[in-house]
Symmetry: D2
Subunit: 359 residues, 4 copies
């Protein structure tokens, strides 16, 4: 059996950290050897420190791992980061400066010019930005670390659905109204008194992220920067009483108005990673559900083991061209799975650094 890359997880006790652990169990390329969380967890075993909230058992080997302090000493050179924005802003550069490949799910650096914001099926070429990063102190000759980010959980499903259309027909405008699951807010996150039998039509900073990240993800790499797509995007973000899975109502304006069949073809034929054999890549990144009342979070979020974006209800829009619904799993495709797929893509390109701890 081949040797696996040793990987670490920053923010391992949170909801996304737990998803990383779940998705990395039995991963063919990566093995979790290091976990870090907040200071109050440090020193405990992971089993003691974490309140495991997933419906598969916490792997015994992970439960026994100690929770390390969140600093790069003794950390492996590949780090999955699931940190709150403020903490990420402080910690991720330290790991990059120490020579780590930081595969981050946080929003802290997503819009920084030299940090790639990537969905492998959408804009893998943006990864080239990493060569422009410089986190090391001037005098250091150490191996160069870098940060790669994935988008906000509300942006990934949308952009997967938009990409094949933007490519073939030109995208001019997007209207999106989201109905987002509570797991997107982490744990404890949304109080039950706020969401039982209720809708909260506000998620702080979410609309801004969804609009800007969509334009950047669909943008064009030119030299050392990304020119965002010149399409207007208007987002309404709402929280609903759903555990997992973000549902989005979308209307779009395309430059050349394609037929219904052409739209469906574009989605079906969208398989940019087919040759790469990345372990977490779904066979079909965008799948059309033909039933009139789909996609639905409870029934469709686990398609492609949680990595497929399901579209449905394609119909003409009286205001723009076409409208449809898109759904994706917000903590798999929208968070931990997104970062993992980024790491797999980097590994397939030989861009993952040998682990510090194995040297």
């Amino acid at each position: 059996m081949q040797t696996k890359h040793k990987v670490g997880i920053l923010g391992a006790t949170g909801m996304v950290g737990q998803r990383f652990i779940q998705l990395l169990e039995d991963h063919p390329w990566f093995q979790v050897t290091w976990l870090a969380a907040s200071d109050r967890s440090s020193g405990k075993s992971y089993g003691e420190a974490a309140r495991w909230k997933l419906d598969t058992p916490l792997p015994a080997s992970i439960a026994a791992l100690p929770v390390s302090p969140a600093s790069p000493e003794n950390a492996p050179s590949i780090i999955f980061a699931a940190l709150d924005t403020d903490i990420a802003r402080d910690l991720e550069p330290k790991f990059a400066a120490a020579g780590c490949a930081v595969i981050s799910n946080s929003s802290a650096f997503r819009m920084q010019a030299d940090v790639p914001l990537v969905i492998p099926e959408v804009n893998a070429d943006h990864l080239a930005l990493t060569s422009h990063q410089n986190w090391n102190p001037p005098a250091t000759s150490a191996r160069r670390g870098y940060i790669v980010t994935n988008p906000n959980c509300s942006a990934i499903g949308l952009v997967l659905a938009l990409k094949p259309l933007a490519e073939r027909f030109g995208l001019r405008a997007v209207f999106v109204s989201t109905m987002q699951a509570v797991s997107g807010a982490g744990y404890p996150g949304v109080p039950s008194l706020d969401i039982l039998g209720n809708v909260v039509p506000f998620i702080r900073n979410e609309e801004e992220k969804l609009e800007a990240e969509t334009q950047r993800l669909l943008g064009k790499l030119e030299g050392n920067r990304v020119i965002p797509l010149d399409a207007r995007v208007s987002a309404h973000c709402n929280r609903v009483a759903v555990e997992d899975g973000h549902t989005e109502s979308v209307s779009i304006q395309l430059a050349t108005k394609p037929s219904r069949e052409e739209v469906l073809d574009a989605w079906r034929e969208f398989q940019p990673l087919r040759e790469k054999n990345l372990p977490s890549a779904p066979l079909q990144p965008v799948e059309y559900a033909a039933a009139e009342d789909r996609p639905q979070p409870r029934l469709d979020r686990m398609r492609g083991r949680g990595m497929t974006a399901t579209v449905g209800r394609l119909r003409p829009c009286s205001l723009l061209n076409w409208k449809f619904t898109v759904l994706s799993h917000n903590t798999i495709r929208g968070a931990a799975g997104a970062a993992l797929l980024n790491a797999e893509l980097l590994a397939s390109q030989g861009k993952l650094l040998p682990s510090v701890s194995s040297s």
Copy 2:
């Protein structure tokens, strides 16, 4: 104490029928004296026939009323109708032909040219259409009955919010994505397996109704017909796990782009019924909730005793002009309360016929 109008309810055992009973308890102008429901209920007392699902007690006087057959003999001349569309299409004309004022919540005749589709605050003048109706058989000299309808539950809140803006600034385009409560589907309605922890992005015919009714409600009466407003309306309709209260994410294009203050003023100053003293009219038909995360169905649906549409989150739209959220109670303002307010308006105009049963 003044004599009250005797009124009847068609479809009295359903969810909207129950709301009629609740809202008419102790009503200053109307008294329920007659209830009709499907044949299998006929002959029982209402208390036996109905499964009461509201959180106020079934009034004892109503519980004791017999459930009558659904035919106009012995019915009072003012009828509130809460029927399924197919049944309404058959029954409502019979009651109108018998000389009744049929105040209908069903969709059967909303788009018929000579039937007014009315929200009192929005287009009271459309009631004039009733004089063009002719339900009586040719040879009959009987008193002329008529049908008046109120809109779909998803349209009322939206149109209340749009009307003051359309009036002052001209309305060109509307994008609306709804999150609708399960009570909108009646009882038994939405199976719990479909909606617990889920979103269903489809409600049959709802988007079509919401689009067409919005244009008709904001349209102009010309002679014996209504010219729909020439504004594009695009709707996405979704069902969510909320008991009561439809929440809608809205973006609009206005002809003259007003400032934020001008929009807020238009809403605040919108009090077209102020002088009329209708018992069910809210002081403020459209109320702005200033908190950043409002309106919410659990907290705001009962404003104005369920008759106020609450708006919030007014902010610029990058695609059209302004965006906001609107919420209204779907079985009060959106159904029984809507019909009741129509009846009150008709009564205040002297257009309610003396009750057959009192003659």
Copy 3:
């Protein structure tokens, strides 16, 4: 109009504090003139400090009140306390020592020998314990304050249902399994990820409180202490996805096995406060719902304006004698309304001290 007692609320911004404000709006005997909350709220107006979570509007006069520091200087002499246990243990004695009547909803002193734990319909005579309290420092000649408590939200409905049966038939054993609403845990309280589509079969210390408080409430005052009822009580406490209203499955062993009619009579005839005309006392403290599938929290919690305990499904138990379901509103009858009724009883007995601030 008669002068109202001035009252203050400790812990005014929490869920129970908000219920106090709601229930005291337009109260005929009491007027809120003073609000206190944690230090970080102090100095703000209540409208700024509180995130109002009830579905009736925050009264404007309350919104404008300043939030005072939580110390007895300048506080009125009647204090409703809605504090966390630890804080209550520290603060309530200070207010009592300063001469206040502290009407407390917290658990801190419920089991202290000289502090009455009271439900007015159940054990009003236990209030005599207040004369044994001594919170003042030895050398003080000040007016004597006291603390009166009401039970845990899970105990009140149960004990209301048990009291008339214990009285008439003798109570030997109680088995109770609860399904408790999330509002019982306050705000933010239960994370939505823990309760959506879920049951949590554990509420810290709840079973212990429910068992012990039931025995004490049904106990007998002897001199300066209460002899708990010698009946075994076994409780299972569960949290379910309900906003308001605790539902409890109950089996009981009675000393003389009464007939079904005798049990129903005991509940119906239980009206110990009838002559007292307390404003918040329900006409019927225990009401039997005859329908086979009641009581239900959504439909029955607001009976008696939230102050009635609804029982239903009375049927023989194959293990003990009878079994039934009881439901009561946990933040009205089970918290703020319970304390308010205690205060009304004290006022009717002339035991409320004249307000410090009015002197």
Copy 4:
């Protein structure tokens, strides 16, 4: 590869029928070759007839199968039945008379003296009752079919938890209060208006079944009948807003009062099927969750691929001996999986008849 038994499903379009299809996909011993449902589905393909409600895809080979009429002609000789009681009472004997092994999830014949009600880990010996059945018309020499049933979904988890204790310590009395998932009522089943934010403390006939089936399952086979266990069982059955997974609060009286460790040992060592290698049997039929707030339906229902009953919160009961919580998946372990395990046990005993259709 070995030949699989051909099996058919009666009631294939319902919720339990769908679970049968899901659990039988890629089953090593059985292959679904025949599906029957109500007349209005007959003639369609299964894909057209069924509204698939599970979160794994409908297997393409099943979607293509025709829906057959519900009569034994052309049916295979092994039939899984997921029928409503009334229909089962009529149809199951016809299939048995035609020589089929009818593995039934319905309640129609569970309490009939010569029909075994079986949980393989609990009372496999009761299967001997099948030899006393006689469904064939007198003159027929055909192969003898039979009916085997599994318990109600609320009984299985409970009885799994009770069996090892009854065996070792003697069981005298059981108090159980359930919180049952909506999927137990099938589709459309529970209306969302009845269960959102609510508890329904009533499920028709459920308490009776739970009590009687528990006694029968733990009873003793004597000759051609089962002597029910002489232990009093008292059940309260409640419906809660959970999709899948029944949670039950249980108190028990044991003849010899064991220690906590002895109870835990009894559960841990309960592995009666270990040697049999049945494909659907969980490694651990009863698993103890040590965390203070477990088991919970969302987190624990899928243990053992939905076939494990999870117990937790073992603590002394002040009324009986011990109390605990038990949880099991109601449509897997409690329905389709229960029947499947029965079939596997019969197959391992050589009691499954060769398929009619393969002859």
